[in-house]
Amino acid sequence: MTQYFAGIDIGSTMTKVVIMDSGIISSIIGPTGPEQRRLANKVMEKALHEVNIPFREITYVVATGYGRINVPFADKQITEISCHAKGVAHFFPEAKTIIDIGGQDCKGIRIDNGKPVDFVMNDKCAAGTGRFLEIIADALGIKIEEMGEIGLEGNHPAKISNICTVFAEQEVVARLAEGVSLHNLVAGILESLANRVSRMVNRLHVAEEVVVTGGGAKNVGLVKALSDKLSYTVAVPPEPLLTGAVGAALLGKDIADKTLKDGVSLETKERSLKEIKIF
């Protein structure tokens, strides 16, 4: 009988769900918003609907991300550190270093055989995160999705000195007024972000293969800036937003396999997605 495993990653800006059997059969990515509990239900329903599988047939559900405590139907909650390690190793078995650049935080993880052995987190400052890019894109009047390509065309990246997102925004506007080209400005911003991230990640003694995940991995200019800064080629998974959810589902499979091997019953939550009313 086919077993299905679900991983749900509720990040600060995006919520991701995957359903897997031997591979990914369904995946949903959507904005998180404030009503995480209600949203967790909705995205799971959507993911199940895509493959016409009832929730009761999901063998195990693992939740990860900051919002993992807001997933009442999850059988287990595991941090993104372990889930990203597992997920990245699935795509890159020889990966040793993961850099996850999320909406509101960034992390570095050293892994060995898909297991985390060390990590660093920047959860105190927007300057190494997707939020930094959102604010700057807004200030420049461009779409965040375009930043990477625009930055790649900048041959002389502007030096952005401020490490504070708010003050960097002011600096960018001032440089634009001075006549610095948009391409060079964006290239400078991406370089600045890469500097911040690599300073943090270098605490881990970076080793190859280096993989970048999260929304930041979709920015080709940022990936190049990181590669240049770290002096390592940086690999990107097929869908970098999903590695956490993939890892969560795979860890769920590991748990199910272990209970089978140990001859004990698999403890799960009730398989229903009840509607939750806030008031």
């Binding site: 509990r37 900051y66 595991i78 941090t79 993104e80 550190i81 372990s82 020889e94 060995d112 055989n113 297991k115 985390p116 052995v117 060390d118 990590f119 660093v120 987190m121 959860d123 105190k124 605490r203 003694h205 009840k274 939750i276 009313k277 806030i278 008031f279």
Partner: protein, 465 residues
Amino acid sequence: MAEEEKKEVRKKRRTATKAAASIGPMVKESIGGTIRAKQEGKKLAYTFIVCLYDEILSVMDIVPVWTENYAGVCGAKRDAERFLERAESLGFSRSLCTYALCGLGFDQWREKLGEMPPDAPWGGQARPDMMLSSGQILCDPRNKWYQAAQQFMPDVPIYDVGLPYPLYEDDIEVADVQDYYIKHITEELRGLVTFLEKQTGKKMDYDRLSEFVDLGERTWNMIWETYELRRAVPTPMGTGDAMNTMVPMVFMMGTQQCYDFYLALNKELQDKIARKEGVVEDEKYRLLWGGGLPSWFALTDFNYFNSKGAVFPVETTYRMIEPIYRLNIPDTNDPIERLAWRWFGYWTYWYDKAKKRPGSEPDVERLIQYIEDYQIDGVVMHEAFSCRTWHLGLIWQLNQLKKIYRPIPVLILGKDGEKTKGKRELPSLILESDIIDISSYSEVDTRNRIDAFIETLEQTKKNKV
């Protein structure tokens, strides 16, 4: 089903020992005691912990007002913000030692009002008759804080005791330089005695000082023996408790009350060991608190670690003693000299050991010793942004430890699928916050890091060969 609106309720902190639980009332009584002492006309002195002259003050009947302690109390009660903000409004930088900021804000307010600020924690901090500053490692606030406070109390004299941090260098032997340090420290202490005699109109009773210093040394030995009991598996006491039980060590050294406290703690731990009663029922991970003063407003984080089966049998923070036999104190009847040797011996104890291991240095050597003695699975450090003294160099120490000390045997999977034996460093975690300023702290983020660290420890244990 509608979700109920939840009220925010702070979980009460749990301690594992009765000794630790007794500290809160002890500190409250001590602070109240300084206010009463002031009313009775006794001489009060602002001073810092680990000052080396605890016994001197006792003999001169000077009541110490421990300014760092009071700031810690404000922090623990989450009532430091108004004092920090006041200090910032006076022009002090937010990046300064937040003990000092809290104290300066408090002092200015008290002086302006002519009475304690409203609802001052535990009655407030008594106004001193003198302020005694003293250096310690890199801590320049310990020299500058009281100079800044003197702006608000211009009639209160300051005496600064210059206590050195003996330099560690590969090509300097401790034995070759110790006489210079001892001479300097001794002169500094004698200068302090002269100042105190002038302030009090009393002469120092050196015989009585010898008795206090003897008791202090016996207390150092008692604390050492007691804390070493925590090597037991399961450990009977963790760092959370030690952040309480350090109080007599640093605020009452040389007194019978101090010695009796550790004697009672010793017995309590022995009883727990006999019953195999640990800090937690199922001890899974033994951790070393490798450095950093704690976040006084978030000591419940130790309970959070405990809830995951993680305990801290040992810490470097506030373990300000070594057994006296290690300090090579020569035979001398001069209590001032004995104090000087105690200071020098404590700070230099790890120097010779560090020289024997390539890449090591005293703080790293101490970490290694504790890891081995206490069967440690992982190291946690706390980076408090406002304190250079105890936090500068922590990351370097951790990096160096990882480079030179790899005790975990593992199998490493090579590119061709072959497994080879290797050694790995201990997992480590760095928490980031502050000692007093709660605006630097996020419980959600801190606990997320702790969760991730526990998962890392679990994986490391599973993969151990």
